[in-house]
């Protein structure tokens, strides 16, 4: 790398208040001082954003050619020999002066302010302030809080114009929808009238605001900071794994705050994650086990529910063999739960019909077998290749990281997509492909294009190819659920041929990576080994093993629909809403012999269950979770479980007991101890290691050549099986021809949708978008509907009316329908998709 060959010193020495201190060259004084234990007060400075030096609170004396002078520590880079004084009377006077100025127009309404008790302005006024105000004039007045958006309110009288929120919106989120308006002391932060601050990241501004000017609507007047208790945890609304502080008051969650995790979220959260605590508090949580009595689910005891479940599982296995039992879901559970359930299903019941993904992901061998990159590695790659859903919609904080890599670090983004995404505007090359033709485009990107391919111009493909460099990272997921996993697998197989390539999975469900690591997929066992490779090893630790590879979600649902599944366990899974082929999912739920739902809410699927077992929700139990990088972090418990809910692993333990087997653990830690012992990819990742503060950002599995300096407690019987490696074999995909009157369907999720958790968080549910079909303006023009309007969409499955809008981001010949819009009863993408088809073709007609 060019920078490293330059001969720059690694450290500089500065004199700080008479003491010699080493600092990184060019780092801002305020940061260097802080590391040296000298805290310089500040309001506008934030280590994750560009300094602006505006508030002037951090003035210190820095020696220049003409002696000491006042300078903002947040804007002065350190340099060799620099002399800095932070405690002189001059500094004190300047800082006191700034504080007094800040209070001139401040309403001093701390007693009624949400921020009271955790407000740097209040704290510093108490600690250093002049005590009594010399300002006797009329203060600036603004109408009290205005709504910047559905989630964020602003009290402009309290604003100290530090530019943090506005800088965040512009620099970090890329949504400059709030701005300074006006000039001088009448500056306010505001939106363009009637164009709200509808950013997926708006909540960060509330956390960033150093005073009580920005308020989270769901939190307003809910609690006082001194009443709050907190525990650190990991957000599980998606699989990025942002670190959070979970706060509660009287056994009710009150808010989440972003915690700055260097490798992951840099302190940021998306609004979905930040406000998701509301679902935990929801009144609609299931608080007791339920059994079906006729058409109704009625409350019952754990004993009754477990007995009924055990009986159903046992008889299904006894009468029809282990293959009559199937387990769907588990990607929302903690690692320990996933392991316990994998052990119950595969090691006790002996079925391999287990799938944590719901047909909207990618095969486990592919995901686990490809060389993995971390987020940091992706952001430092020679190029980032996106073959993924819209990252902004599904993995929002990964979007922030990738956007930063592209915008601030200049890492080229190369996108292979059936439709423009939130990252398209930052992409150096955005190559569109027709649904089903991802592999063609991927191959051309690897080998070079001689002609137009899959709808992209040869020159564009070759231009993108020239950007890739020698260590690209592919962010890999399902760009559209209306295009089969096989099609994307074939594309991934082609991209695996790029020299130096690594992959960052972009599968969205919170702990999908943990679930796969724990073996919740057909054909694999815990610790990233195949069923065949791990057979000997696991025979020595488990009592039973499946005889051969089982069915994936689509296979399980087809079998259930055909009456071949006698007992179907749904682990926090709602196939009726999440499986791309809605018709098949519904038939499966109707056709399965006995359905057990382990869930926190009644969903379309769990409503049809015979037994519903209430599971503890986030923050009601502790354990670990694994993000897309394979990073294992802790989940903290803050409150006691709702009603009589149990953690999922405990339910597995109790069921096993009723089936006559001991799973062998009584605490979460014991589950993890066993994981560390038996899962080959997790060797050495002990409870002690995870609890060590030095690894508070988590550890990625498997541990590298030099494992952290803590030795595992477990010693496993050798030899351990080899970890899965992707074979490179691509499934053959044969694409049906597209007739001239049809459009090929693209279907993706949006951030706020019909998901159970979002729908039970009132602050978020309201943000879900209503359904709409998007097509290229020229395709709508052809229908004489250039401006959009209502259309009829028809596939060989279903047809319905829906609003259509022209969208140049959708290539010609395609139609885009969000997969998770609300209020879609019967008229959604899921109704059109056929799980067996590579692509779904639809016709659009004027009604």
């Amino acid at each position: 790398m060019a920078e490293q060959t330059e001969n720059k010193p690694d450290t500089v020495t500065i004199t700080l208040d008479g003491k010699r201190v080493t600092a990184k060259p060019g780092e801002m004084l305020i940061a260097a001082a802080e590391r040296a234990g000298v805290y310089i007060p500040r309001f506008c400075y934030h280590p994750r954003m560009r300094p602006v030096g505006m508030c002037r609170m951090c003035l210190v004396e820095v020696k220049g050619p003409r002696g000491f002078g006042l300078a903002p520590a947040c804007f002065i880079p350190t340099s060799e020999g620099q002399e800095v004084v932070t405690t002189s009377p001059t500094v004190k006077k300047a800082q006191d002066g700034v504080l007094e100025f800040l209070l001139v127009n401040h309403p001093l309404d701390c007693p009624v302010c949400d921020k009271g008790g955790e407000c740097p302005l209040q704290d510093q006024t108490v600690a250093f302030g002049p005590g009594e105000t010399r300002f006797v004039e009329e203060k600036r007045h603004w109408a009290k809080p205005i709504a910047l958006s559905d989630l964020v309110y602003l009290d402009r009288e309290r604003c100290i114009q530090c530019d943090r929120c506005t800088r965040f919106a512009d620099e970090v989120a890329g949504d400059p929808l709030i701005e300074f308006v006006g000039r001088g002391d009448s500056i306010e932060v505001n939106t363009f009238p009637d164009q709200p601050f509808s950013s997926y990241f708006s909540g960060n501004t509330v956390q960033l605001c150093p005073v009580g000017a920005l308020l989270a609507r769901p939190y307003r007047f809910k609690a006082r900071p001194w009443d709050l208790e907190q525990v650190e945890s990991t957000c599980t609304m998606c699989s990025v794994g942002c670190r959070i502080a979970v706060q509660s008051s009287s056994n009710e969650l009150t808010r989440y705050l972003g915690v700055d995790s260097e490798p992951v979220n840099h302190g940021w959260l998306c609004d979905q994650g930040r406000f998701s605590y509301q679902y935990v508090n929801s009144d609609e949580r299931i608080s007791s086990p339920l059994v079906r009595k006729g058409d109704e689910l009625v409350e019952c005891s754990w004993g009754e529910a477990l007995a009924a479940t055990a009986k159903a599982l046992e008889s299904a296995k006894a009468v029809h063999g282990p293959g009559a039992v199937a387990v769907l879901g588990g990607a929302r559970l903690a690692n320990e739960d996933a392991y316990a359930w994998a052990k119950l299903a595969k090691g006790v019941l002996g079925t391999d019909n287990v799938d944590a993904q719901l047909g909207d992901g990618l095969p486990a061998e592919l995901v686990l077998g490809l060389p993995r990159a971390t987020i940091d590695e992706a952001c430092a790659a020679s190029a980032i290749v996106l073959l993924a859903p819209d990252i902004k919609e599904e993995l929002p904080v990964l979007y922030l990281r990738l956007r930063e890599a592209a915008v601030d670090k200049g890492v080229p983004l190369v996108e292979l997509t059936p439709q423009s995404t939130g990252l398209s505007r930052y992409a150096k090359a955005s190559l569109s492909y027709r649904p089903g033709e991802a592999a063609l485009l991927a191959k051309a990107l690897v080998d070079g294009a001689t002609g137009d391919v899959a709808g992209s111009k040869a020159a564009a493909v070759n231009g993108a190819r020239a950007l890739l460099g020698d260590n690209p990272v592919v962010v890999l997921g399902r760009p559209s659920v209306a295009e089969s996993a096989a099609s994307i697998t074939a594309a991934a197989a082609a991209l695996a041929g790029l020299p130096g390539v690594r992959f960052l999975p972009a599968l969205r469900r919170a702990n999908v990576m943990g679930a796969l690591d724990m073996g919740l997929a057909p054909g694999i066992l815990p610790g990233r080994v195949s069923l065949d490779a791990g057979r000997d090893w696991f025979s020595s630790v488990w009592t039973t093993l499946p005889t051969g590879a089982g069915l994936d979600a689509a296979g399980i649902l087809s079998a259930a629909a055909e009456g071949r599944i006698q007992a179907l366990v749904l682990l926090g899974a709602d196939p009726a809403a999440d499986f791309p082929d809605r018709q098949l999912a519904r038939q499966a739920l109707a056709g399965a012999g006995f359905v057990v739902a382990v869930d926190a809410f009644l969903t379309e699927s769990s409503r049809q269950a015979d037994v519903v077992l209430p599971a503890a929700a986030f923050a009601e139990r502790h354990g670990t979770t694994t993000n897309i990088e394979g990073r294992i972090t802790s989940l903290g418990q803050k409150i006691v479980p709702n009603g009589v809910s149990w953690p999922d692993w405990m339910i597995a333990v109790e069921l096993a007991a009723r089936l006559g087997t001991e799973l062998g653990f009584e605490t979460v830690e014991q589950v993890w101890d066993e994981v560390e012992r038996v899962a080959p990819s997790h060797a050495g990742i002990t409870c002690a290691l995870l609890a060590d503060r030095r690894f508070r950002d988590g550890v990625t599995a498997p541990l590298g050549a030099a494992p952290p300096a803590i030795t595992g407690t477990g010693s496993a019987p050798a030899p351990r099986p080899a970890l899965l490696a992707f074979s490179g074999e691509a499934p053959a995909v044969s694409l049906p021809p597209l007739d001239a009157y049809s459009l090929r369907l693209v279907s993706r999720r949006t951030l706020y949708g019909n998901g159970t958790l979002v729908q039970h968080a009132p602050g978020l549910a309201a943000l879900a978008k209503s359904p709409c079909a998007r097509a290229n303006p020229s395709d709508l023009d052809r229908l004489g509907m250039g401006k959009g309007g209502q259309v009829r969409v028809r596939s060989n499955r279903a047809n319905f009316l829906i609003d259509a809008e022209p969208d140049p981001g959708v290539p010609r010949g395609s139609l885009s329908l969000a997969f998770n819009s609300v209020d879609l009863e019967g008229s959604d993408a899921g109704a059109l998709i056929d799980a067996d088809a590579v692509v779904t073709d639809v016709r659009v007609e004027t009604p």
Binding site: G53, M54, C55, R56, M57, L59, G69, L70, P72, F75, I76, P77, T90, K93, A94, G97, V98, E100, F101, L102, V104, N105, R134, F135, E137, E138, I160, Q161, F180, G182, R183, G184, D185, S186, I187
Partner: protein, 434 residues
């Protein structure tokens, strides 16, 4: 001090019929400086300007040639001409823009040629509608004449020039705020150090910012040589300079005089210049260099119009505008009005200026309206001290740009020179001048 008979330089064509047109300009020797410059090596043009010791006319008075020599290497580089003139009581650039636009264009092209700029922008205060129209018309003519654009006068030097209108904000006269504004943003000054425009300016590229009057001198300097310019004036204050004279004088107006050889008294009293104070009144105080400058009293009236002499005496020649206040003036009201100006024009970026200016405005207004307290005078000083620590000259600052430390000038001068008058306001609850 006798007046000199040095001929005016930048105003020499003003008064000619339709002086703003190309034909008039050409009839009076226009574009000869540029033609000559095109035959010179860029470094030689800079050398002439260095020799002339032309001081910037925008307010800070920095040597133009020195600034050009400091231009950082990476290219492209830009030239930006500051025609935002908004310093209260300054009205010379306004006159030049309306009456001799071609001279500005010629000077700009010479500057661009000397520093090797990729493009040049003339930022004209938005309120100067006629100035913008005249500049635009002149630019059209200049292009047609071959003085701007591709292969100027058949040489291999090409440059495009843009007349950029401002939109009403005093702070955009500050060079870094001006650059921000030219980039289409709010006019927030940038923090310097570390980066001065000559290193990181417009679009992050090295940029020269010069005042309209400054570049208007360039055609003459190139034509006549830097030495001829340096022969005028005394010491560092060379050449002639326009002084905007206003207030209680009989003949307010713009006067171009040789620097250092004319005193404030000459300017105010000479019948060819200010013509004395109105109604034969006595001088009470005067502002020597725009609203940002500390005031002088009758004791300083014999100081020369010399940048260093005025600086040493505790104020500045600044933008070259002299406001004369006679014995009938209420100094509280005068100081309050200037304070209010800074309050209204503070960009709002940094706390001491944003909040301090408003606070000072309110205190001053209270005193002026007769609701002041004696302790207010100390409070005024303390608030000022928190903006410009030490209240010394040249000022130190807790703020980003020097608008901040300009705020105290009128207040501290007013209170220091006319404490009794302030106290009378406080004690009698009214203005003795009605």
């Amino acid at each position: 001090m006798p007046l000199t008979d040095a001929a005016p330089i930048v105003t020499r064509r003003i008064g000619n019929a339709r002086s703003w047109t190309l034909s008039s300009y050409l009839d009076h020797g226009g574009y000869q400086g540029l033609r000559k410059a095109l035959t010179m090596a860029p470094a030689d043009i800079t050398a002439e300007v260095l020799t002339s010791n032309l001081l910037g006319r925008g307010g800070a008075g920095f040597e133009a040639g020195k600034k050009w020599s400091m231009l950082a290497k990476p290219r492209p580089a830009y030239v930006v001409i500051n025609g935002d003139e908004s310093e209260p009581a300054t009205f010379k650039d306004h006159m030049l823009l309306e009456n001799d636009p071609h001279q500005i264009i010629e000077g700009t092209v010479i500057c661009a040629l000397a520093v090797g700029a990729a493009q040049a922008f003339i930022f004209v205060r938005g309120e100067f509608a006629l100035g913008i129209e005249r500049m635009t018309a002149a630019l059209n003519e200049a292009y047609a004449h071959g003085a701007v654009g591709r292969n100027i006068f058949g040489s291999d030097f090409s440059i495009d020039l843009v007349i950029h209108p401002g939109a009403g904000a005093y702070i955009c006269g500050e060079e870094t705020a001006l650059i921000e504004s030219l980039e289409g943003k709010r006019g927030f000054p940038r923090i310097k150090p570390p980066f001065f425009p000559a290193a990181i300016g417009l679009y992050g590229a090295p940029t020269i910012v010069n005042n309209v009057e400054t570049v208007s001198n360039l055609p003459w300097i190139v034509e006549n040589g830097g030495a001829a310019f340096a022969a005028l004036g005394i010491g560092r204050s060379t050449g002639t300079r326009i002084f905007s004279l206003s207030g209680h004088v009989n003949r307010p107006g713009n006067y171009e005089v040789e620097m250092s050889k004319v005193s404030f008294r000459d300017l105010i009293e000479d019948p060819r210049l200010g013509g004395g104070i109105r109604n034969g009144n006595k001088l009470k105080a005067f502002i020597p260099g725009g609203a940002s400058a500390p005031w002088f009293g009758p004791d300083q009236v014999d100081l020369a119009l010399d940048q260093d002499a005025v600086g040493k005496a505790g104020s500045m020649l600044g933008s070259g505008s002299i406001v004369v206040m006679d014995e009938t003036t209420c100094m509280v009201r005068a100081a309050w009005r200037i304070t209010r100006f800074f309050h209204r024009e503070s960009c709002g970026q940094c706390t001491p200026c944003r909040e301090g200016s408003g606070w000072l405005d309110k205190i001053m207004r209270r005193i002026e309206e007769g609701a002041g307290r004696e302790s207010d005078l100390d409070l005024l000083f303390d608030v000022c001290d928190n903006i410009a620590p030490g209240l010394s000259w040249p000022p130190r600052q807790t703020t980003i740009c020097v608008l901040g430390p300009s705020i105290p000038s009128s207040i501290t001068s007013g209170v220091r020179m006319f404490r009794d008058e302030f106290l009378t306001h406080v004690k009698e609850g009214a203005c003795p001048y009605g």
